[in-house]
Symmetry: C2
Amino acid sequence: MDYRAWFQCIAGCNERYPLNEVVYQCRKCGDLLEVVHDMERLRHRSASAWMKLFDDRYLRTEWPYGSGVWGKKEWVCPSVHNDNIVSMFEGGTNLFWAERFGKSMGLDDLWVKQCGLSHTGSFKDLGMTVLVSMVKQMIAEGQKILGVACASTGDTSAALAAYCAAAGIPAIVFLPKNLISHAQLIQPIANGAITLALETDFDGCMAIVREVCSKNNVYLANSMNSLRIEGQKTVGIEIVQQFDWEEPDVIIIPVGNLGNVTALGKGFLMMKELGLVNRLPWIVCAQAANANPFYLSYCAGFKEFKPIKARKTVASAIQIGNPVSIRKATKVLQEFNGVVEQATEDEIANAAALADRTGLFNCPHTGVALAALLKLVARGQIKPEQRVVVISTAHGLKFSEFKIAYHEGKLPDVRSRYANLPIELPPKYDAVRDALFRALDSWSSSITPLEMFQ
Amino acid sequence: MDYRAWFQCIAGCNERYPLNEVVYQCRKCGDLLEVVHDMERLRHRSASAWMKLFDDRYLRTEWPYGSGVWGKKEWVCPSVHNDNIVSMFEGGTNLFWAERFGKSMGLDDLWVKQCGLSHTGSFKDLGMTVLVSMVKQMIAEGQKILGVACASTGDTSAALAAYCAAAGIPAIVFLPKNLISHAQLIQPIANGAITLALETDFDGCMAIVREVCSKNNVYLANSMNSLRIEGQKTVGIEIVQQFDWEEPDVIIIPVGNLGNVTALGKGFLMMKELGLVNRLPWIVCAQAANANPFYLSYCAGFKEFKPIKARKTVASAIQIGNPVSIRKATKVLQEFNGVVEQATEDEIANAAALADRTGLFNCPHTGVALAALLKLVARGQIKPEQRVVVISTAHGLKFSEFKIAYHEGKLPDVRSRYANLPIELPPKYDAVRDALFRALDSWSSSITPLEMFQ
């Protein structure tokens, strides 16, 4: 069976481009492109046959289908030759039953999808494997591509650099010189990316990277590139698969540039269209109150969207005032009757710390989603009997500084209500014993969310 | 079938204790204990039936067997009730085909077992799930256990704190006050461990933690506790499983306290005894030259062992002069006709950086193993046609400081031969283009190991 997919303009121009063409926007109207699949062909296989195929491949050894992304290759990017796939066994991440954390708010069926347990530590690997594989294929087909570029300080540049390094393709990362520390950059630096630090701000970097890519054979890996959405959409499919093909009631996801919720929705809509699920989950988008343009648009009934100037937030990767995928995401959220919730810095940091007390260790963006969860439960919008999944976007090890600052009480606008610091003691048995027993007395196996979430 | 296992003295005292008893050493002779399985009962199932059972469970949804550790429960810790198991889906980590890195030294069949792609970021999760599950069972059976303690600054305390937090059991971490930064401690702090910082050194902490545990109902999670070995031994079984039950030719593992190689060997010996493999791999233990007591003992034909004072090394977790499991590990290595190799600081850091250039991002301990690999290949002791596995013990995100210092050229005794730093530029297209093309000209898709490894 010859499965097919192509780029198509989202504005309805009917413009189509092959996936191995260097094109980021509709050549007719300039609007965004999305990957569209030949659904007729996909329908030739029954829903149960797709589920069986995906289960048979899932995390097994047949290259490249063990990857959570490439195990669903026909739905993702059917035209890449297996020899060109650059994969590090993406997906298959733990769907963690948050037993203690759930109980603290009266939920028995709360789960955290640990997307950060991944090669580069974030969900970005799901999309980057598709983009870099397609670039490898284009090079193999004889296209002259000198490298792949992006302007990013965070998870995107880390994923790009790692996948390019594995493939032997130069990665090029553009950054504002003074805004970025070596610590933020150590993954792309270590993975050998060509790193260009420009004496300008982010917008200045974006302008230059676009000019460089348009005038030279350098491929642009920015968030307008919809190949990445195809890999990212497997997260929703995988969650359903991990529940033995039962869809959860609620999914909460932290959002900034809005590509991830677009992808999440796309995966579910494809499952519904092909009969793998009968209903759609309620999707909750969580934004930092300091960077909440999507929340504001939602509150105004999505009648209009106004970009804002995002303020500083601990959830630095979603400090975005003018999200690229705003229209795609608005459309998706409306199809799911979804909502947008926001959380203050104080709520984000304390929700993350509360979850950490129950064994988690996630990024502050996950904290945004956890704070939204706590607020919706307190308001009765999420019910005790519902099955709820929180999508964790990255590993907490990428954000040690945030966690240290929290426990040292040094985060702006945050009262560290769950701070935990070492107890300093002389090396004497009696003193140690007394201090230990005092600490054990005040240790409680039941975690109670603070009134701020009630 | 009622599978059984118990603690038994390694000195041959025939002393046996149940696994749910609080006992760390033989009560008769004081020697170490190991977990011994009733092999007769395990033999009732054929090798192919075991392989099928393990495959059927592997990374699937039936609790708790989807975990790489608990999918092999009968071989690990059969007496724990499933309700008491504290699991975060351990194991199942990517066995990464290091294609580019391998080619750089003429190997086509080089693999890196990514144990750091785990809940707390290191292989310690494999053992900690067994220990904490057993403690949960002991508490459920009515034993009065107030908490679980360890003296560790690194991966062990992180794993202990996370598993205890998930289980709702207090974790207690003992540390020397001035030797540890909050950054090193942020995982146990975030996971709510009671952290006691004593005004003494490590030996002082060990003395106090032992006294506290012996006089109170506090369980000791130190490296003498052989329950952890049972979980850790699944790493070798899983590697063979990931090769569709074909054993590799060579396994290289970084070693300090020697529990991990003891576990690796134990898993292979059990597979051989039960007929799952026909031959044993060649095991290479890799030590930092600054902390090489096992290497020195190996060079002297294992005739004697002398503890040393370990010097500072970037591979901080294996900076150990008097390894706990020396006798177990010596015995194992002799059974495998294994060897010990050592690597200098310069070799460790540059081997890690060379691997990073090909898409990896591992801890400096993995660097020790990679340096040993490069040396053995250069000497012809590892042949091009051999299938080689390097065990990576932790994620590089735990060691960002090490990687930053490398690329900034600030590591003592290290010449950073693969340093990569941002190129600073004005935000002008022509300047950026020129710099980019110069960088692309000198970028090479083939990585060549330096002469230091030839």
